[in-house]
Symmetry: C2
C-alpha cells in the first residue's frame, strides 16, 4: 500500500484518478514496446483487496457434491443389503394383518372417535338453549376431552393387535381431534358470552351483514369473491353436524363460524396433490425400509456400549435418510395433503407453513414450520392466558408445555414406551433457542440458520435411536442385545 490513507475523500478520489491516469499512460507507453507486454498490476481474486465476491458457482458445487454423496450411499446400501423395499410387507405393518388376523382395532378406534365429537356437539346444543347450565357444561366438555385423549393410551396399552402404523395414526388423529374440539368449544363460548352480554344490554340485534357486491375480482386460489356474498352464519345457527364435520375435515385447528371459501375445485391442482401424496408416501416408506431400518438396527450395540465414536458415526449415517424422510414428510403433510383437503373442502386459507427454512433462530422455526398448531396455540392458549392476567412469559411456557406433552404423546403411545426422550427433546429447545440467538447476534443470521438446521438434522435421529434402543430393551430384554452383538 502506498500509505497515504489519511488523505481527504476528495484527495483520495483525485489520487485514484491520477493512479488511473498513470496506469493508462504506462499502458500506452508499454504497448509501443516490441515485446508485446501482457502483464499489468492486479490482485488475485481470493485476496480481500480484489473486491471480488461472486462465488455462486460454489452453490452449484455444494448441491452437486451432495447429490453425488447421496448417490454413493445409495449404491453402497444396495451392494450391502440388496433391495429391501417391499410394499407388501408395509401393508401388513400398516394394517397389522399378520399379527391379529381379521381384527382391526385401529379402524374401530377411528370410528369410535365420532362419539366424543357428537357428544361435544350435543353439549354445545344444550348450552346454547340453556338446558345445560354453564358450569356443568364446561365440566362435561373437560371430561369429554380428557377421555378423548386417554382412549388411545389405554386402548393401545391393553389391547394387542395394534400395528405400529395403526397405533401412530390413531394417536395422531385423536390429538388433532382434541385440539379441534378445544377450539370449537372455546369459540362457541366466546359467541355465547357476547350473546349474553348483548342480551343484558338489550342491544343485541341479529347482525344480518352482507358484503356489498363491489363487482368481480380475481384471486389466486379461486377464492370466492365475485359471487354475491351470502349472509354470515351467526351463533347458534352454526351448531349442527354438517358444520362440525366440515371443521373436522378442514385443514385447520382453529374453528370459526364463517371460513373463507374458494368458488371452485381446480382439477389439475387437485390431481397434482393426489399424485404427490401417493408417490411421496411410497418414497418415505422406501427410504425407511432401505436406509433407516438397517442404520437404526446397527446403532443398537454402539448406543448400548456408549461407544461415542461409533455411535456418532451411526448417528450421522442415520441423519441423512432420516432428514430426507422428514423433509418429504413435511412436504407431503403440510403442502400436498393439506392443500388436497383444502381444495376438496373449498377451504381458502392455505397458510399451512411459513418460510421456516430461512429462520435464523429456533423460536422463529417453531413459529413458522407448523402454522395450524402455531395459530391454534396463539388463539386458544397464549392470548386467553394473557387476557386472564398471566404474564406473556407464563403464557409462552404454558404453550411450550402443551406442545411438549403432545410431542411425547404421539411418540410414546404408539411405541408403548413411556420414556421422556421426546419431552426432553422439546425441553432442549430452550437452551438451543438461546444458543441460536447468541450465534445469530454474534456471528450473523446465517450462523443462526445453521444452528436451526443442525438441530433439525441431528436432533431427530438422536431421538429415533434412543427410542429404538429403549423399545428393544423394554420389549425384548437385554438378552436380545447380547444376541445382536454376536452378529
Amino acid at each position: 500500500m502506498s500509505g497515504d490513507h489519511d488523505g481527504l475523500r476528495l484527495r483520495r478520489t483525485q489520487s485514484v484518478t491520477r493512479a488511473e491516469e498513470i496506469q493508462a499512460e504506462e499502458l500506452r507507453v508499454r504497448r509501443l514496446q516490441p515485446d508485446k507486454p501482457c502483464h499489468k498490476p492486479r490482485d488475485s481474486l481470493f485476496s480481500w483487496t480484489s473486491g471480488f465476491d461472486n462465488f455462486t458457482g460454489f452453490v452449484t458445487w455444494a448441491f452437486l457434491l451432495l447429490f453425488m454423496g447421496g448417490l454413493r450411499l445409495l449404491l453402497e446400501n444396495f451392494i450391502k443389503y440388496g433391495i429391501r423395499v417391499d410394499p407388501i410387507q408395509w401393508v401388513y405393518v400398516l394394517t397389522g394383518q399378520d399379527d391379529s388376523g381379521s381384527e382391526h382395532p385401529s379402524l374401530i378406534l377411528l370410528l369410535y372417535s365420532l362419539v366424543p365429537v357428537v357428544l361435544c356437539l350435543l353439549t354445545e346444543k344444550g348450552l346454547s338453549v340453556d338446558i345445560i347450565p354453564n358450569g356443568p357444561g364446561l365440566i362435561i366438555h373437560v371430561i369429554n376431552l380428557l377421555v378423548l385423549v386417554m382412549i388411545p393410551i389405554v386402548a393401545i396399552q391393553i389391547k394387542d393387535g395394534f400395528s405400529l402404523m395403526g397405533a401412530t395414526s390413531v394417536s395422531f388423529i385423536y390429538c388433532v381431534l382434541f385440539l379441534k374440539l378445544w377450539s370449537y368449544v372455546q369459540v362457541n363460548m366466546w359467541c355465547r358470552t357476547q350473546q349474553r352480554r348483548s342480551k343484558t344490554n338489550h342491544s343485541f340485534r341479529r347482525q344480518s351483514l352482507s358484503f356489498s357486491n363491489l363487482g368481480s375480482g380475481e384471486s389466486k386460489n379461486g377464492y370466492n369473491d365475485d359471487h354475491e356474498h351470502e349472509e354470515l352464519v351467526q351463533y347458534p345457527d352454526n351448531l349442527h353436524l354438517r358444520d362440525l364435520f366440515y371443521f373436522m375435515l378442514a385443514p385447520t385447528l382453529c374453528y370459526e363460524l364463517n371460513f373463507p371459501k374458494t368458488s371452485r375445485i381446480r382439477k389439475r391442482f387437485l390431481l397434482k396433490r393426489i399424485i404427490e401424496v401417493v408417490i411421496g408416501i411410497q418414497l418415505i416408506l422406501a427410504v425407511m425400509q432401505q436406509y433407516m431400518v438397517p442404520s437404526v438396527k446397527n446403532s443398537l450395540i454402539p448406543f448400548s456400549n456408549m461407544d461415542i465414536t461409533k455411535a456418532s458415526e451411526r448417528l450421522l449415517k442415520l441423519a441423512i435418510p432420516n432428514h430426507l424422510a422428514w423433509l418429504c414428510f413435511f412436504y407431503i403433510i403440510f403442502h400436498s395433503f393439506m392443500n388436497l383437503m383444502g381444495e376438496l373442502m373449498h377451504f381458502a386459507d392455505r397458510n399451512f407453513y411459513s418460510d421456516w427454512w430461512n429462520s435464523n433462530n429456533i423460536d422463529t422455526f417453531w413459529r413458522t414450520w407448523n402454522m395450524p398448531v402455531h395459530r391454534w396455540a396463539i388463539r386458544h392458549v397464549y392470548l386467553p392466558c394473557v387476557s386472564m392476567g398471566y404474564s406473556r412469559l407464563s403464557a409462552s411456557i404454558f404453550v411450550f408445555f402443551i406442545s411438549a406433552f403432545f410431542h411425547e404423546y404421539m411418540v410414546s403411545v404408539p411405541l408403548k414406551t413411556f420414556k421422556i426422550w421426546a419431552f426432553m427433546g422439546m425441553m432442549g429447545q430452550v437452551p438451543l433457542s438461546l444458543i441460536s440467538k447468541y450465534m445469530e447476534r454474534h456471528f450473523g443470521p446465517r450462523m443462526g440458520n445453521v444452528v436451526v438446521w443442525a438441530s433439525l438434522i441431528l436432533g431427530q435421529p438422536l431421538c429415533v435411536m434412543m427410542y429404538y434402543h429403549d423399545y428393544v430393551i423394554t420389549h425384548f430384554g437385554k438378552d436380545l442385545l447380547e444376541d445382536y452383538s454376536h452378529v
Copy 2:
C-alpha cells in the same frame, strides 16, 4: 381462478383493487364477529401462485448436510483404518531416501536444468550480436528445448531411485522451464525483428521513454506507481543472467522486458501465504494417505472385473477426497504459492486464476482456471498461428494438442506408465464442451455450471483409478491382482 383473463391491463388493475377492497371490507365485517376469525384466503408458499421465492435457507442446508456427510466419512474411515497419516513416511516418499540411500537423482536433475537455461541465454546473446545467424540460432533453440523435454523421460525411465514425488516435481519443473524458455526465445525474436526492421528503415532511435511523474497514487498490492519511473529496458540490454533468472522465478510463463513491479514486500501477506503453503501441503498429503490410498486400492478388483455397480460406488467414494485434495491443491498452487513468489519477486500481476467456479461451459473453465498457461497459449501459440495465416479453429486445435501432450507428460513420465488416459481425458473435453454448451443453451447457465463441476469431480478420480490399475498391472503383474482379491 375467476376467469376474466381477457380484460385490459387497466381493467385488471381495477379488478385487483376491487378484490382488495372486497377483502378489506370482508375483513372489517368479519372482525366484528364474536368468533375472532383468523383465516383469510391465501396460497401455500410452495404453490407457484404464491409468488414466494426466498429459499436461501436451503443453501445453508446444502452446505451443512455436506459438512455432516464429510464428518461421517471421516469417522467411518478412522473406525475402519485407524490413523494412517504418517509425515515420516512422506519424507521418504518425497526424497526417495529409503530406496536409493544417499543418491538424489531428482535434485541432480533439478540442478542440471540450469544448463539448458544458460545455453538458451548464450544462444540469444550470440543472435543479438550476429555471431550466430538467424537460421542456425533457431535450430539450436529448438534442439535445446526438445532435449530439455526429453531429459526427464529418459532419466526417469533409465535410472532407478526416483521417488514418485521427486519424479513428479522434475517433470513439472521441466515442463514449466520449457514453456518459459519458449516465451523467452519468441519475445527476443520479436524484439530482434523490430530492431532489424527499424535499422533497415534508418528510423530506429533508442526510445528512452519515461513515464511522466503525475504525482502520488494508490494501488492495491503495493504497485509501484508513486516512484519516479525508471527508463524501460530495451533489447538487447535485457540479455543477462539476472533478468533471465528473475523470469524463471517469477510466477508467469510469459516473458516481457519490463514486468510491472510492486514497491515493497507486505510482510503480513507473505507470512499468511507461507503458512497456507505449509499447512495446505500437510492437508493434501494427509487426505491422500488417509482417504485416497485405501479407496484407490479397494477400487482395483471392481475395475479389473468390470463390475459396474461396485466400480461406480468406488469412483464416487474416491471422488470426494480426490476433489477436496484438488481444490486444496488449486488454492495452494494458484493462490498461496504464486502470490508468495510474486510478493518475493515484487511481481505485480497476480492474475493467476479467474472465476472458473462460475463458468457455465467447459471452454470458459479451461480459459479461466489456469491463467499463466492460458495467457502463454494465447500469446505464444494461438496468436502467432493466426498471424501466420492459419484459421482460428486450427490454432485452437493446435493449442489443445499441446495442452493434451503436457497433461499426458506430467502423469506418464513420473509413473513410467505410457498409457493415454490423461491424453484421452483431454480429448474427452471436446464432446464435454459440446454437452455443456447444449445444457447451458437449453437448461440455463446453472446447468452448464453443473456439467463443468461434474466433469471436474468425476473425471479426475476416473483417471486416477485407471492409472493406478495400469500401474499395478504393469509393475507388479496380474498375480498381485489375484492376491488382492483374496484379501
